[in-house]
Amino acid sequence: MILNMFYIHQTTCISPQQTFPDADISVLHQPTGHQLKAIEPTYTGIPPGILRRMSKSVRMGIGAALPLINQLPAPDGIIIGTANAGFEDCFHFLKQIVEYNEGLLAPGSFVQSTPNAVAAQLAMLSHNHGYNITHVQLGLAFENAMMDAGMLIKEHPGNTYLLGAVDDISVYNNALNLLAGWFKNELSAVENLYELNSPGSIAGEGAAMFLVNGNPAKAIAQVQAIGAVHSGDVGVMERQLKFFLDKHLPEGEKIDLLISGENGDNRLLKYYTACEKMMPGEAMVIRFKHLCGEYPTASAIALWLACYILQKNPIPPHLIKKSFPVKAFKNILIYNNYKQVQHSFILIFGMD
């Protein structure tokens, strides 16, 4: 593991809550049916002709990233994690193939259908010739992107990178996830998400972007370490979490804040409960899936939230699962689980 992976200097977020350009998460925005849909801003800075052709994931990703990427000096590369970017166009094209029986098709949605569309269009719009990559490991896509950023900063100590994640609800991925039983059919109010004791979560979407480098001066947060587990076995997850904390949490310190990816799916609760029980000492526990819903790169929203809290913004009561008086958040852990078999631990240090 790399220690001192990177420092976060700026962050933006487009989500189903009021987070862009300014954030106010005191009042909750409610779902439509079983979906929490992002509040999309007026996208300034994307040429209208290009904007019109963008699918929602590409729009949100680019809309969130542009304020960060257009700064000087320009970032030295673009690292995106996504599972679904381009899916909407992908199905649009698929539909044409089937409905027109492989007839004469317009290529527009095919070109826009690849998940690398977000990183690629960002490079195009900002004339960025640097490192450019798209990690697509489903529920660990953003974690892999963070790992990549950590390595790049170690390889090129002076460089700054744009790191981010985006996924959207498209008609089709929503249909597939509903069919596979990953979403509840209906949710009256997001506050009830954790109380229903039933399988499935609520569909969500969002984009979170970060400017990261190796310079601690004036940083918001430090991402210290990232761990991943590939197993549905709670015991395996517990052993690896213990190993992770033993290795990365400084001797004698505790986790002050646990940001839990609990998502209202009663099949996943055992993992989150196990994680909470394993916190060394008393930790405050907050949840965030009622803000953004469940989607493969939702952990990026958790990282944005960690930054939001470290910038001394108040923590609204609806986030809090377990309260504990904390003077300053020194050590924050994000634990997320995607569809039982993909777990991640992200350890964040507040700046002194």
Partner: protein, 395 residues
């Protein structure tokens, strides 16, 4: 910094189901691009493709992969992965170790099942067995699960440079200490999705492709998979090594979603950066496995970029005239071909180029030759301007 060696390889393509078979076919100038025999498409007799002539069912049986929901793309990946770990003699303990990484590249992933995916997306009950298999990462997740792997598992999608980036990423994981060894590669199977997509862009050749020919008419799609084992020098004891991965660079062309900039900025920067990583001069490169898709845009721009970087362009050719463009698998397949060049000190003929592009005058190698090689470059450029070059050196 310790050097990174290739210690195992596995490969399946339209010209053979193993590295050895592929090498023989390349040496003999064989082409695996034909009308489609197995894959059902309206274009089966119209657009030739590099189809692997082993049916999905046969692959499933050969690989003992009876679980429901496994796609052809995943089976191809499994085939190449199995060969690579056998060739590299990885033990079960090494495979399941926390410091063994798996990095794959794919573009269509489970979406190769175009019709099934469309069907499932219309349903509200009774999803097909593939309901959880359409994702791009389903291939690496299957391999992880089958072999109970515990290290870093990742999938990269940078379109046609996906598995070249997977190789680069694996090397970086080892250098940074995040992994001790990495199994890297990629897979893509033919799909109605890509056949129709490239056809709609009017870049599929109606006959067998002619990379770097003045009158080239476009590319042929192909399918395949390749995996390589990367290990650190100090970990290699009594084991054969094929080559050293010395150079790599990822750079974006930042020009257009589906075509390269006229001057080839992305390709130029990727090749130049790979030389810098390897600490080599342009004159050190003995051969280039070009991206060479056979499209008007790629071959001209790639030629210009080579002329920009190299005082004298080294011998080069495109193996896409043998196997077609295997998209997410292409970077890894061509990496293995480049390693075969080095290991056996030979170059394989690029096929079907009768007349050099007038502007550049560059002709690909057209005969099998024994040749002394120290360093070979492999280029992969993808939609979205995602350009990556790799350099392999003699071990």
């Amino acid at each position: 910094m310790s050097r990174i060696f290739i210690t195992g390889m596995g490969l399946i393509s339209a010209i053979g189901n193993s590295v050895a078979d592929n090498r023989i076919a390349l040496s003999e100038g064989k082409c695996g691009i034909t009308t489609l025999k197995l894959f059902p498409s309206k274009y089966a007799n119209l657009l030739p493709c590099g189809e692997i002539k082993t049916s999905t069912e046969t692959l499933r049986q050969q690989l003992n992969a009876a679980e429901p929901g496994i796609t052809r793309g995943t089976l191809l990946a499994l085939h190449a992965f199995d060969q690579a770990i056998r060739d590299g003699q990885l033990t079960t303990a090494q495979l399941t170790s926390f410091d063994t990484a798996l990095v794959g590249g794919s573009t269509v992933g489970g979406m190769c099942l175009t019709d099934e995916l469309y069907g499932d997306a219309q349903k509200t009950v009774n999803g097909s067995e593939y309901i959880n298999s359409y994702d791009c990462a389903s291939m690496t997740m299957y391999l992880q699960h089958r072999y109970k792997m515990n290290g870093i598992i990742n999938t990269i999608n940078t379109a046609c440079s996906s598995s070249a980036n997977a190789i680069m990423y694996g090397a970086r994981l080892i250098k940074s200490g995040l992994a001790r060894r990495a199994i890297v590669g990629g897979a893509d199977s033919l799909a109605k999705f890509t056949i129709n997509g490239f056809n709609a862009l009017h870049i599929l050749a109606p006959a067998i492709c002619t990379p770097f020919d003045e009158d080239r008419k476009g590319l042929n799609l192909g399918e395949g998979a390749a995996f390589l084992i990367l290990e650190k020098e100090e970990d290699i004891v009594n084991k054969k090594t094929y080559a050293v991965l010395t150079g790599y660079c990822n750079s974006n062309d930042a020009f257009h979603p589906s075509s390269l900039s006229p001057a080839g900025d992305g390709p130029y920067l990727a090749m130049k950066g790979a030389l810098e990583t390897a600490r080599l001069a342009p004159g050190d490169i003995g051969f280039i496995n070009a991206h060479g898709t056979g499209t008007e845009n790629n071959d001209l721009v790639e030629s210009r970029a080579m002329l920009r970087l190299f005082k004298t362009v080294p011998p080069f050719a495109s193996t896409k005239s043998n196997v077609g463009h295997t998209l997410g698998a292409a970077g890894a397949i061509e990496a293995i071909y480049s390693i075969c060049n080095l290991y056996h000190q030979e170059v394989y003929p690029g096929l079907n180029c009768g007349k050099a592009i007038a502007e550049t005058g560059l002709m690909p190698v057209d005969l099998y030759k024994k040749i002394s090689l120290q360093h070979v470059m492999s280029n992969s450029f993808g939609f979205g301007g995602n350009c990556t070059s790799l350099i392999f050196s003699k071990s």
